[in-house]
């Protein structure tokens, strides 16, 4: 008997899963588009989870309302599909929740779903950006402790491997950095490696270089 109840509840939950699945697609696509260079780390942040969760939560809530009030008993799958797709589209369209009766009242009174969603989206985006930047700053702080020649060598290797930057341009840049103090120079070299190689690659390389240096320094 408990198995039947469980099976029934799983079958009953399937349309909700469809709504949730559809609701995940939109915010994930928005994150993919905004954080092209660092998608995985962006998706791993708390703020990305909150952004996706709010999207899913609202979609499921709307489906629950629709299914209780309206037509879901007849065809729950269709209701789930319509809610899953329709709600996301509605959220991003300029449907006004509050519209002033007179034009003089201005836009201050006007309130649209897209505005609200846009503000929430921007807030989450800023928080994700900030979280990613803080991680990068911490990595740069570690990187500038490396000997300068190691960073220069890595830069040369990376630039030559990419084929996009002519070697003489890299050499003249290294020369141009000669006017800076060593820490500033190391920061710029490390920033190039971080940005061009990506966070994960640079972190891994940093770990390898540090352990190589330790081994070389060990008696």
């Amino acid at each position: 008997m408990p198995w039947d109840a469980l099976a029934n509840s799983v079958v009953g939950a399937e349309p909700y899963l469809l709504v949730a699945g559809l609701a995940v697609l939109w915010p994930v696509a928005e994150i993919l588009q905004t954080f092209e260079g660092d998608v995985i780390r962006a998706l791993k942040t708390v703020w990305a989870a909150l952004f996706i969760a709010v999207n899913v939560g609202f979609a499921v809530l709307i489906y629950a309302l629709v299914s209780h009030v309206w037509m879901a008993q007849a065809d729950p799958w269709r209701a789930a599909l319509v809610t899953g797709l329709g709600w996301q589209a509605l959220l991003r369209s300029r449907v006004h929740l509050l519209q002033p009766l007179t034009a003089e009242a201005g836009e201050a009174v006007s309130l649209s779903l897209a505005d609200l969603y846009g503000r929430f989206q921007q807030f989450c985006q800023r928080q994700i950006d900030q979280a990613l930047a803080m991680e990068r700053i911490r990595l740069l702080e570690k990187a500038i402790e490396l000997p300068e020649e190691v960073l220069e060598r890595q830069l040369r290797l990376m630039a030559h491997a990419s084929l996009l930057v002519p070697p003489d341009q890299v050499e003249s840049y290294i020369k141009k950095l000669g006017g800076y103090d060593p820490e500033h120079r190391a920061l710029l070299l490390a920033s190039y490696l971080l940005r061009k190689g990506g966070y994960s690659f640079f972190k891994k390389r940093l770990r390898e270089i540090t352990s190589e240096a330790r081994k070389a320094g060990a008696p």
Partner: protein, 160 residues
């Protein structure tokens, strides 16, 4: 600046250089004539006047040459700014960046990208947000559109 404007500026500069060269040659010829007259001793006053004219022409030629050099430097600066602007916008498509990252990835110095960032902020292409430990630069929706436009233009020119 558009390619046409840059070409036209380059044309102006070439004209200035040609004018400066022509003036200098005329001045040299006048000096030669003055020297010949002096050596013959036939018309010392005219020779002196010719020499004075040659000196004035040399001065004018120098001014034109200086102006051509200034035009060249201004064009080079504008070109470099345009290159940095494109590179920064395209880099920001990959996500927000610290100023030092933008400087490094465009193979320039932080002080070189500073005016470009100020311009882009004024044009509402980017926002500069203060965060703990520095500033974070990100594209605005307008900047994103511009960056994508530049990216497709670069791709198209690569295909041609």
């Amino acid at each position: 600046m558009s390619e046409m404007e840059m070409l036209s500026q380059a044309g102006d500069r070439n004209t200035q250089v040609n004018v400066a060269d022509a003036l200098l040659q005329i001045a040299q010829q006048l000096t030669q004539i003055a020297q010949t007259l002096n050596s013959q001793g036939s018309a010392p006053r005219e020779a002196q006047q010719l020499e004075e004219s040659a000196q004035k022409l040399k001065a004018v030629s120098q001014r034109v040459a200086d102006s051509a050099e200034q035009t060249r430097q201004a064009a080079a600066e504008t070109h470099e700014r345009e290159r940095l602007r494109m590179a920064i916008l395209q880099e920001l498509l990959r996500g927000a960046a610290l100023p030092v990252e933008l400087a490094a990835v465009t193979l320039s110095l932080p002080e070189e990208i500073q005016p470009v960032l100020e311009d882009l902020e004024r044009e509402e292409m980017i926002t500069i947000q203060s965060i703990q430990g520095g500033h974070l630069i990100r594209l605005t929706p307008l900047g994103r559109v511009e960056a994508r436009r530049l990216q497709s233009r670069v791709r198209l020119s690569g295909l041609r």
